[in-house]
């Protein structure tokens, strides 16, 4: 039993934390809130120099071939500092999509650029989403060309490479992933306003855009599920990191802020609130660890593990992001306070890849499926 990260992975964490402390202070994130930059270029450059985008990309495709546990470590650290960079879009989504659905030529062509950070990739998976009364998001392939609108697409305006989920217009309606270069004719990209401007999202419109299907052209329904499961684990680590950082921020404040002649952290209303946050974070951490194991070992438990990690981490981060503001009181509600960074990001991450509702459905579906196969509930045994 060695249910923990290894010493090497912990060293990677220490290095990452130190680097991010120096290069991704709250001030860096705030610049995104107050300005128009699509991401922090200096930070992005820095992590590219450290080869982070290539962490889990095999060396044969230009990565450093560390593995997914290392990527989980980095995700957690990036989550802690609410990093304003397109890392998740590029490393968890686009590179993974190429990795699991691309053919050899496509991998050779795109993965090295993504691994080095020279190119930023993203996925546009929104399918059949209706926004408001008029905006139905759906992308269709007709005569080999993409048509339709996709939103919200993370980093859609800056991506050098788009992986788009689109359904063929034929009666079969097969869902496939397509790789698109945004320089193609017929693409319109515009930033849309979201609750977390530190991670900009776009609406991308396709008007007869040339696109190449990933892989050998079979249906990707199951691969997209797999892609989401895998990315969910990494996003859950980002959430876990954010939840830890928000709890630390609240705890520090509760210890140092005095009211009624005593630290507010000596009031049980505050203590127990933060103890509850700690409990949620621990439950999230344990589920995340299990999911990291499932991801890194390509275990059959991945769908269940990913959904569980996602549910627990969403619950944890949303709770403490809100209660961190409450612990701070009025000052926590000001624009100047860093509390809002966690609050915005927690909700953004909670809805990325689908709401917790959709993950709960996936979890129960999988558990039902498992239970109908085996008489007893499966587990690690």
């Amino acid at each position: 039993m060695n249910f923990d990260f290894s010493e090497e992975q912990k060293m990677l964490r220490a290095v990452a934390r130190k680097f991010l402390k120096e290069n991704c202070s709250p001030g860096v994130v705030r610049r995104m809130l107050d300005g128009d930059a699509p991401y922090d270029e200096k930070l992005w450059k820095g992590i590219c120099e450290l080869d982070w985008p290539g962490t889990a990309v095999p060396e044969s495709y230009g990565g450093i071939g560390y593995g997914y546990l290392e990527l989980c470590v980095l995700a957690e650290e990036l989550g802690r500092v609410i990093a304003p960079i397109p890392f998740s879009s590029s490393a968890y989504m686009a590179a993974e999509a190429l990795h699991i659905a691309g053919n050899e030529r496509q991998r050779k062509k795109y993965l090295p650029r993504l691994a080095s950070g020279e190119a930023i990739g993203t996925c546009a998976l929104a399918e059949g989403v209706t926004i408001g009364a008029h905006w139905h998001m759906e992308t269709i392939v007709r005569d080999g060309k993409l048509h339709g609108t996709n939103a919200p697409v993370a980093d859609g305006c800056v991506a050098d490479l788009l992986i788009v989920a689109a359904r063929s217009s034929a009666a079969s309606g097969v869902l496939k992933l397509y790789v698109v270069e945004p320089s193609e004719k017929g693409i319109t990209r515009e930033t849309i306003q979201t609750i977390d401007p530190t991670r900009p999202h776009a609406r991308v419109t396709f008007d007869a855009v040339a696109a190449e299907p990933l892989g050998s052209g079979e249906s990707h329904e199951r691969l997209i599920e797999k892609l989401k499961d895998r990315a969910a684990v990494l996003l859950a680590f980002e959430q876990l990191g954010g939840a830890d950082a928000a709890l630390e921020m609240a705890t520090e404040y509760a210890k140092s802020r005095y009211a009624f002649g005593r630290p507010i952290g000596s009031f049980q209303a505050i203590k127990h609130k933060l103890a509850d946050a700690f409990i949620r974070n621990e439950l999230a951490r344990s589920n995340c660890y299990f999911a990291a194991w499932a991801l890194s070992s390509d275990a059959e438990e991945l769908p269940i593990a990913a959904a569980s990690a996602r549910i627990a981490a969403t619950e944890a981060f949303e709770y403490i992001a809100a209660e961190n503001i409450q612990t701070h009181g009025g000052i926590g509600f000001t624009w100047e306070s860093d509390c809002q960074l966690f609050y915005r990001r927690s909700k953004l991450l909670a809805l990325t890849l689908g709401s917790v509702r959709s993950w709960k459905n996936r979890l129960i579906d999988q558990l039902e499926c498992q239970a109908s196969v085996k008489p007893e509930l499966a587990g690690v045994d």
Partner: protein
């Protein structure tokens, strides 16, 4: 057990409604409901002042005030009836409530007859806007912990320090202020209460930007601001008692935290689809909707119960804290859940794209403020436990120590 007005009340309500119909437009369900820091430009202020003047001239201001102070001396229930009616109309809000609800009563109790005559009529007609200067950076929940100092200098007081969360300070003409005149006394005993001209020299006002953006909250800095001793309200050292009575006057207010609530999400789930079915057919949605409806109605019917008390001449108790705790938390829950129902699109807060003009997203960003402003969830639970249930107070380490010897941490 009924909702029927007395004959007099019914007549009054009818008149109010008729006047409102003639002078304002009715608010429909979810239109124009959400405004961020609404009316912060000069035009909106002018409109508000003009509305207030018409309203005062028609006799709808100071309804239960003594005639001596320019009121109609009707029972307080009539004020509530007018307010209930007014909530159904689109009228300027957020300018005069603090003046009329908190500053006016304290002036009536503590100012001289001459001062009352000088200031109240203009306040009623909206010619002057008033604000309230209590909270400080180091004294939020613990209001009695304020540091802003008042030093006596002959016939004047010299004020130094900083206030925060002062609503509308930037468009206010006058304000009421608590300050500390003696740091060697225990915290509740060293306070003195004043009113002052907000245009006095040495006052600097900065707008506070909050999470959802612009707000009407301000920071107010005092740099040797001079107030005539004649503008002291109550005795020297009586400031805490004066402040407490001021806060009690707010109890007549009808109203909950603004933001998206049951009716908004009910409308949403009647339109939205989930798993191929109308969202309202989903049992998780139904479960939450039912809870929210019941809480919403519980608060509304609770206000009828409060109004009944007021009609009988009883003062409503701190039970009103219930409304605040329940509605603030509910706004956060409702908005958060609505966003979840929108799935990946829930993050979009562009009013042109998101349902109901992104009201849920906006409420989500604004809701943390509701849970803090006007008494945090935690303070209100303390109030309910201690004042309603009669439970013992927290252990106090700050009651009898001289203010300047209180532990303040690393501040």
């Amino acid at each position: 057990m009924d909702f029927t007005d007395t004959q007099e009340e019914a007549q009054f309500r009818q008149k109010a409604r008729a006047w409102l119909n003639a002078n304002a437009s009715r608010s429909t369900d979810t239109t124009n409901k959400f405004k961020v820091g609404g009316g912060d430009d000069a035009e909106a202020l002018r409109e508000a002042k003009s509305w207030q003047a018409r309203k005062a001239d028609a006799g709808w201001v100071g309804i239960h005030w003594p005639k001596a102070f320019g009121g109609r001396e009707l029972p307080p229930s009539y004020t509530v009836i007018y307010r209930m009616e007014e909530t159904n109309y689109l009228v300027p809000r957020g300018y005069f409530e603090i003046g009329l609800g908190m500053c006016a009563p304290v002036m009536m109790s503590y100012a001289t007859a001459g001062q009352v005559k000088q200031y109240l009529p203009r306040m009623m007609r909206g010619e002057n806007v008033w604000c309230q200067l209590f909270s400080e950076p180091s004294a939020g929940s613990d209001v009695a912990g304020i540091r802003t100092s008042a030093r006596r200098d002959g016939d004047e007081w010299v004020i130094n320090g900083q206030k925060v969360w002062t609503s509308g300070a930037h468009f206010s003409d006058f304000g009421i202020l608590v300050a500390r005149h003696d740091t060697t006394l225990p915290k509740h005993k060293g306070l003195t209460f004043f009113f002052l001209d907000m245009k006095s020299r040495g006052i600097e006002i900065r707008r506070i930007k909050s999470i959802p953006g612009r707000s009407n909250f301000c920071e107010v800095f005092f740099d040797n601001v001079r107030i005539p001793d004649a503008q002291r309200l109550g005795d020297v050292g009586q400031g805490w008692q004066v402040a407490v009575t001021t806060l009690m006057h707010e109890r007549l207010a009808v109203g909950q935290a603004s933001g998206t609530n049951f009716e908004d999400i009910f409308a949403l789930v009647r339109e939205l689809e989930l798993d191929g079915k109308p969202a309202i057919k989903d049992s998780l949605v139904r479960d939450k909707l039912a809870d929210w409806y019941v809480r919403d109605k519980g608060l509304q019917y609770g206000q009828y119960r409060m109004l009944t008390k007021i009609s009988r001449g009883e003062m409503p108790g701190p039970e009103a804290s219930v409304t605040k705790v329940v509605s603030a938390v509910q706004v956060q829950q409702v908005s958060s859940f609505a966003m979840e129902l929108m799935d990946v699109a829930g993050i979009i807060d562009d009013p042109r794209l998101s349902p109901q003009s992104a009201a849920f997203q906006l409420s989500f960003l604004a809701s943390p403020g509701y849970r803090i402003a006007g008494g945090s969830d935690e303070i209100l639970r303390n109030i309910i436990a201690e004042r309603v249930l009669g439970m013992p107070g927290d252990i106090r380490v700050d009651k009898d120590l001289p203010y300047n010897q209180l532990p303040t941490g690393a501040r």
